[in-house]
Amino acid sequence: MIALWVAAGVLAAATAGLVLHRAARAAANVGTTDPTLDVYRRQLTEIDDLADRGLIGEAERGAARAEASRRLLTAADATAQPWSHDAGERRPVLIAAGLAPVLALGLYLWVGSPGLPDDSFKHRLSQWRAADLQTLPPAALAAVMRQVATERPKDPDAWRYLALAESAAENTSASGRALRHAITLAPGRADLWELLGQSLVVEGGGAPSPEADNAFREALKRDPTSIAARFHLARSRVMSGDKAGGLAAWTALLADLPANDPRRPALQQAIVEARSETSAVAAAPPGGQIDMIRGMVAGLAERLKTQPDDPEGWVRLVRSYAVLGESAKRDATLAQARKRFAGQAAIQAELDAAAKTEPMK
């Protein structure tokens, strides 16, 4: 705090010094003539220069000289009122130079936050590292783990912990990146592949994906007993339509799990739900799926309100409304997007193509 006031004082003194110095210099600089005459004299010289170099003709030289001379005479005849160099004017200058920092200080006390210290990321990081890690919020823990991973770039566990911390901080993309890095360091470790698969599933909003399945398969290659890999691969089969195969794999997994394994109830629940869904989906009206899609589309529309600089998002939204047969919304969104990306021919073309998508039957 004291350092702030000292620095502010030095700055205020320096600026006041500048004002006073320039005033004192002006007081000493007596006898300055009107520079207008110099300009016209220089013009005359330049005209002669150009003519001497043959860059303008004699006729032009004569005409230009005549005009410049007339201007020079007019300027010389003009009675310029002299300016005072009276040092007595220093008093208002002193008052202004003294008052400015005081006024600035008053305004600063009103607008600024004098008691608040700087808080660089490096400083905060050192504070977090010194603290009990378990008390840290997930984002801070992830920041600490990022630093640890940078310090130990060859240690796969440092990157694994970073991935877990990023995942806890809901930064799934960074979690996946950390795991991929860990895998490049220790490609033979099944647990890393398993975690990567899980991270990809989370990143995909819980839905399986070819990349996630691939990671689980890599985990299984290295550890055929990997519970998570077997569970997710079976789930992927269930969700992709191979319910019988998926249920069989889950049932086999259940049989392999020890009776006291805490994961058994969750697995049993999944099997029950899959079996009931098999019958429910067959009986349920398609409206359920449509509602789910509508929910996703509404989510996309909401996101575009806050992050509108996403041309592909707009194209997807227009296409989605077209697929859902909501032509009014499709047209409104198309108009909005066309306006936003006015003139970007490629995006306009994609938007138009999306709007022409056939509605779902």
């Binding site: 600026t15 500048l18 032009e60 305004l107």
Partner: protein, 659 residues
């Protein structure tokens, strides 16, 4: 502490700007050199304060101090250092601080370099510059303060818009703002001239270096922006008459007109009222640009966050500042002395015509920019005014101007010989028409407008070189004399020649690129081909890339022509997790002045397909390089003119010539 010193220094800058107004104003009223000197000292001190504030904000960005709300909203620890630095001016608040830095910087420059100005004119100029600084600094401190602190800072920042994380865009705003705000000095000099009642040849000479500096910086700023839009936005174009682009283009057009009208005022004492009007209009358009970008009335990739309250405040600043200036003009202009007379065929007339065309062109751009906004405000109906409107209105005016440009410097002052000028430009005209016809006959597909554009570009370059040859008597056969004349040419003349040639180079690039651009788009799987004119692109691989603060897919393509590999474009599609945004990194292969431009689009898992596909777009942009080189040549011309000792800033007296 550094953050708070920044906050204090910013407020000190505001108070010192106000002090500058009071001291310089009082100096003019009391005709006191001491008060004037103090006012100049206050201008220097205000700049010092704002510069320290700017450095403090930059420091906060560099060290990722998220207790500063502006840093938390616009930075991220994983952002590379360059973009953390550029983040200083990447937000609304930071960009206003940059604006204020440039404004006080130019105020300090007037105080330091304006030794050759009459005391009254200088005092009023410094006071006006201080007034502008006060208004904008007050807005920054009270409505857009970049030093607002957070008691509970977030762990991580929200990061800068990834589209802005680009080297060209990192340096684009400093140039653009220096150009915009450089025109503030011209505004202040105009206001001072009206107050003093003296708009004469000497005043025009004092205005020109500031106008030249502003114009040159603005030229570079706009070119960098266009170049960024060209390779970062990935739509294959470089200018789309986006309202924000127009906002920067209008002050440039007016500054161009001003540079030419100031020559007439300087040489002949004529057009003084018009020159003052342009001087005021140039900065008014700069402020209009600041308002359009920040008010929320525009939706553009360039526009800052929507904020109607700040927009209204900026509109008030624009209205009061420009309104006061033009009221002063309306009051004082009738008393300005009329200038020298000139014949209808003369250099003055050509420059008047130049001004009429540039002013009309600015009016068309202004109409095309504001009409949709006004219509939407009145009727709620949104319309888009795009290239067709500008092609029909702006292009004919510019065509007329380009036809006129080579003739202007060949015309004599007062009264010129039109026939003689036509004869001297005959060869250039012949070459231009020949080039246009040859292009029409030889280049397929035939594009009449593009060929006319080639003729215009060649006419500009040829005509300008004809003028240079004429001045240096290059065709007289006496090479020693030609060399002597060329080395004796004032730098201002070289600057003009370069600026006109640069315009010609730009016209060639713009017309050829627009006329013969080839575009193709295809969804490609690995190994897939895309035909683009004479080229065939093959998608070899797509691999993941871990960037410093993004994940990307990088495609490797092979571009083949006539069985020979030409280049290996590697476009990227980046995802920035911090902001959840995706950008395209275009791959550009330069072949002479031509560009092979490749964009990697989104990955699609096509239904039923075993492998993913990517949307790949490619463009063949002939002579695209000229579009960006031309304006650089123009700006270079501006800087060379600026170095002409006749215009050199701060020149007081010249040593007497030896007898």
């Amino acid at each position: 502490m550094i953050d708070e010193i920044g906050g204090f220094a910013l407020i000190l800058g505001l108070v010192l700007s106000l002090t500058q107004v009071v001291l310089s104003g009082a100096a003019r009223v009391r005709r006191s050199a001491v008060l004037a000197g103090a006012g100049e000292g206050a201008a220097l001190a205000a700049f010092l304060g704002v510069a320290i504030a700017f450095a403090a904000l930059m420091h906060a960005f560099v060290v990722s101090d998220f207790s500063v709300a502006n840093v938390a909203a616009n930075s991220h620890t994983e952002k590379p250092l360059l973009y953390r630095v550029a983040g200083t001016w990447g937000s609304h608040e930071g960009s206003m601080l940059l604006w204020c830095l440039a404004l006080t910087g130019f105020g300090a420059a007037v105080a330091m370099l304006g030794r050759g100005l009459p005391a009254g004119l200088k005092a009023v100029t410094v006071a006006t510059q201080g007034l502008l600084g006060t208004v904008f600094l007050a807005y920054t401190v009270f409505a857009s303060n970049p030093f607002v602190r957070l008691l509970d800072p977030p762990v991580e920042g929200r990061s800068l818009n990834p589209l802005l994380q680009d080297p060209a865009l990192a340096v684009h705003p400093p140039f653009l703002y220096s150009g915009y705000v450089g025109l503030s000095v011209v505004f202040s000099l105009a206001a001072a001239a009206l107050v003093e009642g003296r708009v004469d040849a000497a005043w025009a000479r004092w205005v020109r270096p500031w106008a030249l500096a502003g114009w040159s910086l603005l030229t570079i700023g706009i070119t960098l922006g266009a170049f960024w839009a060209y390779y970062e936005l990935g739509w294959g174009g470089w200018w789309f008459w986006d309202p924000v682009e127009n906002a920067s283009f209008m002050p440039w057009l007016i500054a161009t007109a001003l540079l030419h009208s100031a020559v007439v005022t300087e040489k002949r004492g004529a057009l003084s009222g018009w020159t003052v009007f342009l001087a005021m209009a140039a900065f008014t358009f700069s402020m209009l640009g600041a308002f359009l970008v920040r008010s929320g009335v525009l939706t553009s990739v360039h526009a800052f966050a929507v904020d109607p309250t700040r927009g209204v405040l900026l509109l008030i600043i624009l209205g009061v500042t420009a309104g006061s200036g033009f009221l002063l003009f309306a009051w004082r202009a009738p008393s300005l002395a009329p200038g020298g007379l000139f014949a209808p065929v003369s250099r003055e007339s050509a420059l008047v015509l130049n001004n009429i065309l540039l002013a009309a062109a600015t009016a068309t751009v202004l109409l095309g920019t504001l009409y949709p906004l006004i219509r939407e405000a009145l009727t709620g109906e949104s319309i888009s005014v795009g290239p067709p409107y500008f092609n029909l209105t702006f292009t004919p005016l510019m065509t007329a101007l380009i036809l006129l440009v080579p003739a202007g410097p060949l015309l004599s002052w007062k009264r010129a010989d039109a026939q003689g000028v036509a004869q001297r430009l005959g060869l250039a005209a012949l070459i231009a028409v020949g080039a246009g016809l040859a292009a029409y006959a030889m280049v397929s597909p035939r594009k009449a407008f593009a060929c006319a554009g080639i003729a215009l570009g060649v006419w500009l370059i040829g005509g300008t070189l004809s003028e240079l040859a004429e001045r240096s008597r290059a065709f007289a056969g006496d090479w020693a004399e030609t060399r002597r004349r060329l080395t004796g040419l004032p730098r201002g003349a070289w600057g003009m020649t370069l600026a006109h040639i640069g315009l010609g180079v730009f016209v060639l690039g713009a017309c050829v690129e627009t006329g013969w651009k080839v575009e193709a788009a295809e969804t490609l799987s690995l190994g897939g081909h895309l035909k683009l004119g004479a080229y065939e692109l093959t998608l070899e691989k797509v691999q993941g890339v871990d960037g410093p603060n993004y994940d990307a897919e990088r495609a490797t393509l092979h571009a083949v022509r006539n069985g020979r590999e030409i280049c290996t474009p590697r476009p990227e599609r980046r995802f920035y997790p911090a902001g959840g945004q995706t950008t395209s990194e275009v791959a550009i292969c330069t072949r002479g002045a031509n560009h092979l431009y490749v964009v990697l689009g989104e990955r699609r898992e096509a239904a039923g397909a075993k492998a993913p596909v990517w949307l790949v777009r490619a463009y063949w942009n002939p002579w695209a390089l000229f579009i960006f080189i031309g304006p650089v040549i123009m700006a270079l011309g501006g800087f060379i003119s600026l170095s002409d000792r006749r215009l050199r800033l701060g020149v007081g007296k010249r040593a007497a010539r030896p007898a």
